[in-house]
Symmetry: C2
Subunit: 283 residues, 2 copies
């Protein structure tokens, strides 16, 4: 008997993006509805509460752009925090850096990790077995609140769009806590939504981080399964960032393992702000 195929769509402002395939799991966790579907082009894809999160085919567009621009622009990077990131992709890119000695991954929904390990294991891959990775089932906002000052060299915010339980991850007080727990030369790296399909949230994140941190820079690239396909990542720090010779050498090696990101791509992506967003930020 062949598998039953169905359409699963994400709806967004009168548009929809759907994948056809066999549903591998559909389950309500304590926090959200979780679906994994197997699609002929995107491979296995994860949807949370009606929004596409990741797929085997396009996850590198997202994870490589969140991780490497942060890690190659700071010198000390032993202690890393990932808030969200239950699919394991951010952790997988992090473990490429030998200087990292500990990664705290704080995911609120244990089911996301369980399902990712079972159905999307290619994304986390060997990172799930890396001894430096510590998984904590906890609320990222609370985790950050209870962390002592100057603790993490990098904080990654790898979360879903603002909604219900993830709203606080986009608040002033949360970003201020992130700043407090960062080392003086540390960096905050966050996905910062689409300048097209989530323009208002995008502008709010940029303005808020600019107010709180001395430095805040946004890069733009592609995530095919997200609404509009345009996505952004913002990197904030208390000091100016630079690419040291040591980091350059490491980045050149890491490029070889990457599908999307390389150093030229990174430098360019920081200049891809659409002109209308520049105008809005300057107005």
């Amino acid at each position: 008997m062949s598998a039953i195929k169905t359409w699963i769509d994400e709806y967004h402002k009168g548009s929809r993006f759907g994948l056809n395939g066999e549903i591998l799991i559909k389950k309500n966790s304590k926090y959200q509805e979780i679906i994994v579907i197997e699609n002929e082009y995107y491979g296995k894809a994860l949807m949370l509460d009606g929004c596409w999160m990741t797929s085997l085919k396009d996850e590198k567009y997202y994870h490589e752009c969140l991780v490497h621009p942060a890690l190659n622009r700071i010198d000390k990077k032993s202690n890393v925090l990932i808030i969200g990131g239950g699919d394991g992709g951010t952790a997988r890119e992090c473990v490429k850096y030998s200087q990292i000695t500990k990664i705290d991954l704080v995911e609120i929904d244990e089911e996301v990790i369980k399902i990712s390990k079972k159905f999307l294991n290619e994304i986390g891959g060997e990172a799930w077995n890396d001894k430096r990775l510590k998984i904590h089932i906890d609320d990222g906002v609370e985790w950050v609140k209870k962390t002592r000052d100057n603790f993490y060299d990098v904080v990654f915010i790898d979360c879903s769009d603002p909604s219900g339980f993830s709203n606080l991850l986009f608040s002033d007080s949360f970003y201020k806590d992130c700043k407090r727990i960062l080392t003086p030369k540390g960096i905050l790296a966050t996905q910062s939504e689409s300048p097209e399909s989530f323009k208002n949230i995008h502008l709010k994140i940029l303005k808020t981080l600019k107010n709180i941190f001395r430095i805040s820079e946004t890069m733009y690239s592609f995530v095919p399964i997200y609404p509009s396909g345009i996505w952004s990542w913002t990197f904030a720090s208390k000091e100016y960032l630079h690419l040291s010779q040591e980091n350059y050498n490491e980045a050149v090696k890491i490029e070889k393992s990457c599908d999307i990101w390389n150093l030229n791509f990174q430098n360019a992506a920081f200049k891809m702000m659409p002109n209308k967003i520049i105008k809005e930020l300057n107005s």
Copy 2:
């Protein structure tokens, strides 16, 4: 009575991107099925033979990136050819340049122009009344064949994806004819598909233009309603391109009228080739 809303989807390798709205027109021309739908976010949107072509909301992502990187890197630009471009967007960006004295727009399907003027008039706008614009209902491949050598300063290929009647617009012989009809310092500008959702065609275009022209450069940016949202444009010429002081001054003025493109964006977009495409081209 309120309008009847329906979903219209473009299907692509097991995925679909749909817009909901009222169908303003649905008609079979001699060449293709033409649909215009009114959507709450994208505004009026045009579909040809099941593929989204353009929408009021996102058309500038496409047209600004096709036109300006060509026109600001050549000095002489009096005589311009647009193959396809029946929605009028490419012509609209061209008429911003006062040096241009004649634009031949060669569109095979008269219905596309009629429907664009009637339903999507905001795209072509005043360009439709510009005396420099000459509309020819003709086959672009035949038009190029019968054009004398060294005739156009710029040739824009503003066509739909390869299929039936548009296949020849992606052939070696067509590109060679384009080269022949270009002035020695002229430039060919073409949309070159998505490196993600049309990877094989994309690679073929890049390799073919590299073989035929001395210079060929590809830029990557966003078109939200196209499959994957990642799109590319390739610019080919017989001589090295540069940005003269005069062109720079003009570009700075034109930037003000643009939603997406500016000179920084342009320079960056030429470096946004995904790493996996670089690897494939070098293998």
